[in-house]
C-alpha cells in the first residue's frame, strides 16, 4: 500500500517528484514497456485502483501516442485477495474493469503507484488468475520505495526512492487528488 495515513499538518513533508517529474517518468516507462515488449500486439495494462488505475490510463495514452495504435487497458481490484483483510475493518471494494479482449493469452503489465511490501502485487496475481491465464505478467510502478516482504520485483520502475520504514510515501494524482506530486512524509 501507498502509506500509512498521516495528516499533512502533523508531519514533515518533502516533495520528491513534482508534476513534470512524474510526466517524464511515465514517458520513460512507456518507452521501456514498448522496448521490452517489442510493441507486442497482445499488450494489456491492468492498473490497481485507485491510483494505479489512473497511472495505467496515462501510460496507455502515452504508449498509444508513441506506437500509433491503441493499447488495451483495464483496472483490477485486489481487495478480496489481500492477506491483511482481517487486520482492519472491512474495506470498500473498488471497480475491476477487464478489457473486452480479456486477459487470456495476453502480455499483462500490472501498474501500481508505490511498490512497498509487495503484498498488493501478490494479491493482484491471485486476482488476475481468476480472470484467465495471461501469457506473461510484468509489473510497472511509478515509485519503488523498498522494504519488500515478499520475493517480488518490478520490471519497470519510474523512480527508486530509498526510504526509512518510519517514513511514508504519499503519491497524489490529478485524477484523484487534484495535483500530481510524490512526497515523503515522516510520521511524528
Amino acid at each position: 500500500m501507498t502509506n500509512n495515513v498521516t495528516p499533512a499538518e502533523s508531519s514533515d513533508s518533502r516533495v520528491v517528484l513534482d508534476a513534470s517529474d512524474i510526466s517524464r517518468a511515465l514517458t520513460r516507462l512507456a518507452h521501456e514497456i514498448i522496448e521490452r515488449t517489442q510493441s507486442a500486439s497482445n499488450l494489456t495494462l491492468m492498473g490497481i485502483p485507485t491510483r494505479g488505475a489512473a497511472l495505467a490510463q496515462r501510460l496507455a495514452q502515452k504508449i498509444s501516442e508513441i506506437q500509433g495504435s491503441p493499447v488495451s487497458v483495464g483496472a483490477l481490484d485486489v481487495t478480496m485477495y489481500r492477506d491483511d483483510l482481517r487486520l482492519r475493518p472491512a474495506r470498500a471494494l473498488l471497480p475491476t474493469k477487464i478489457p473486452v479482449e480479456g486477459i487470456e493469452g495476453r502480455l499483462v503489465v500490472l501498474v501500481d503507484d508505490v511498490l512497498f511490501s509487495g503484498r498488493t502485487i501478490r494479491a493482484a496475481l491471485d486476482a488476475l488468475s481468476e480472470h484467465g491465464r495471461p501469457e506473461a505478467v510484468q509489473l510497472a510502478v511509478l515509485v519503488d520505495r523498498g522494504h519488500r516482504e515478499l520475493p517480488i520485483r518490478a520490471d519497470y520502475v519510474g523512480k527508486n526512492l530509498p526510504t526509512s520504514s518510519k517514513e511514508s510515501v504519499r503519491l497524489r494524482l490529478v485524477e484523484n487528488d487534484g495535483i500530481d506530486e510524490v512526497a515523503i512524509e515522516r510520521a511524528k
Binding site: R86, R88, A90, R91, A92, L93, L94, P95, T96, H131
Partner: protein, 310 residues
C-alpha cells in the same frame, strides 16, 4: 458493522456502502468470477425457525460465493421441535464456532435477543423476524431501485415508491420504509384500512386507501404478498374484492409512468395482488430482485465478516 438487525441501524453512508459493495460484487459475477476468497475459513450458520426456501438459498449462495462454510439449521427437523430454547440453540452454535448467524424467526425481536444476550460472539443478521423487519430485503429493493432509477446517484433522493398491500403484517414494508427514508426516497403506503397498523401515521409516509389514485405519480410500485391465512381472518371480504381494489392489473400498470417499475418480494400470488401479465411484463423486476438479493447479501456478509472483528 457488527450486526444487521434493523434497517434503521444503518446510517445513510453505511447503506450506500452496502449498495456500492453489492454493485462491485455483481460486476465480479458478470465478469465470470464465481467465487471470491474473503470469508475462507469462516462459518456462517443459517438458523431458520420459519420456512423460507428463497431467503435461505439466497444467503447460502451468498456465503458460498465468498468461500464461507455454511451450516443450515432448520427448526422443523431439529432439537427445536423437541423443545430446545433459543438460548440453548445459540449456545450450541457458539460452541460449534459460528462466526455469523443468519436468523429467521417467527417472533419479532428474536435476532435482537440473539445479538445482545451475550450467548454468542459472532455477528447476527436478521433474515426476517415476525412482523418486525427484514433488512436485507429492503437493501436488495433499494439496490434494485437505484439501478433502475438513479443511474448517477448514490442514494434514492427524489424517488417515489408506493408500497401496496398487507402493511400490517409485513416486515418487508417496515424495513423498506425505514431504509427508503434513510436514502432520501418518498414512500406512499396503499392498503385497506384494516391492513394498516395502528400508529402508521408516525412513519412519515403518505397513506392512501385508493390504488388508482396512487399509481401515476410512482416511480416504483412494490406489491406485497397477501398471505393465504389472512384471507380467513376478515381483514377484507374476499380474495376477489381485494384483487379488484388492490391488485396490480394490466390496466392499472398502463397508467404508470413510462420509466416506472413493478416490484414484488416474492413469492407472488398470481391473480391476487399481481396479475400474471403484469408479473411477466417488461416492467416487472421480480426476477432481477432475486439475483440482486444474492449480491446484497454477499455485501452484508463481507462487511460484517470480511474485516477485523470490531
Amino acid at each position: 458493522m457488527k450486526h444487521l438487525l434493523s434497517a434503521a441501524d444503518l446510517t445513510r453512508e453505511e447503506a450506500i456502502t452496502v449498495l456500492d459493495t453489492a454493485a462491485q460484487l455483481a460486476a465480479a459475477a458478470e465478469q465470470g468470477v464465481g467465487k471470491l476468497p474473503p470469508l475462507r475459513g469462516r462459518t456462517v450458520v443459517n438458523l431458520f425457525f420459519e420456512d423460507s426456501t428463497r431467503t435461505r438459498m439466497s444467503f447460502e449462495a451468498a456465503a458460498k460465493r465468498l468461500s464461507a462454510d455454511v451450516i443450515n439449521f432448520s427448526a422443523k427437523n431439529s432439537s427445536v421441535s423437541k423443545g430446545e430454547s433459543l438460548k440453548d440453540t445459540a449456545l450450541t452454535l457458539e460452541a460449534m464456532g459460528a462466526d455469523a448467524v443468519v436468523i429467521r424467526h417467527n417472533s419479532s425481536g428474536a435476532p435482537h435477543r440473539l445479538a445482545n444476550a451475550g450467548w454468542i460472539s459472532g455477528g447476527v443478521i436478521n433474515a426476517g423476524d415476525g412482523t418486525h423487519e427484514h433488512p436485507t430485503q429492503a437493501l436488495l429493493d433499494a439496490y434494485t431501485l437505484r439501478r433502475h432509477l438513479c443511474a448517477d446517484q448514490a442514494d434514492l433522493a427524489g424517488v417515489n415508491v408506493t408500497i401496496v398491500g398487507d402493511i400490517l403484517h409485513s416486515r418487508v414494508a417496515r424495513s423498506n420504509v425505514l431504509l427508503l427514508h434513510i436514502l432520501g426516497a418518498k414512500v406512499k403506503l396503499v392498503a385497506p384500512p384494516t391492513l394498516l397498523p395502528i400508529g402508521v401515521e408516525t412513519w412519515g409516509c403518505e397513506i392512501s386507501y385508493d390504488l388508482d389514485d396512487s399509481i401515476a405519480g410512482s416511480d416504483a410500485v412494490m406489491m406485497l404478498r397477501v398471505q393465504k391465512e389472512r384471507m380467513n381472518q376478515s381483514y377484507f371480504p374476499n380474495a376477489h374484492e381485494y384483487s379488484f381494489r388492490y391488485g396490480l392489473t394490466k390496466a392499472r400498470m398502463n397508467k404508470m409512468a413510462q420509466h416506472a417499475i413493478v416490484m414484488h418480494p416474492g413469492p407472488m400470488n398470481r391473480g391476487m395482488e399481481i396479475s400474471a401479465d403484469v408479473a411477466d411484463s417488461a416492467r416487472s423486476v421480480v426476477v432481477e430482485q432475486v439475483a440482486n438479493g444474492v449480491s446484497v447479501r454477499m455485501a452484508v456478509l463481507y462487511l460484517i465478516l470480511g474485516g477485523a472483528e470490531s
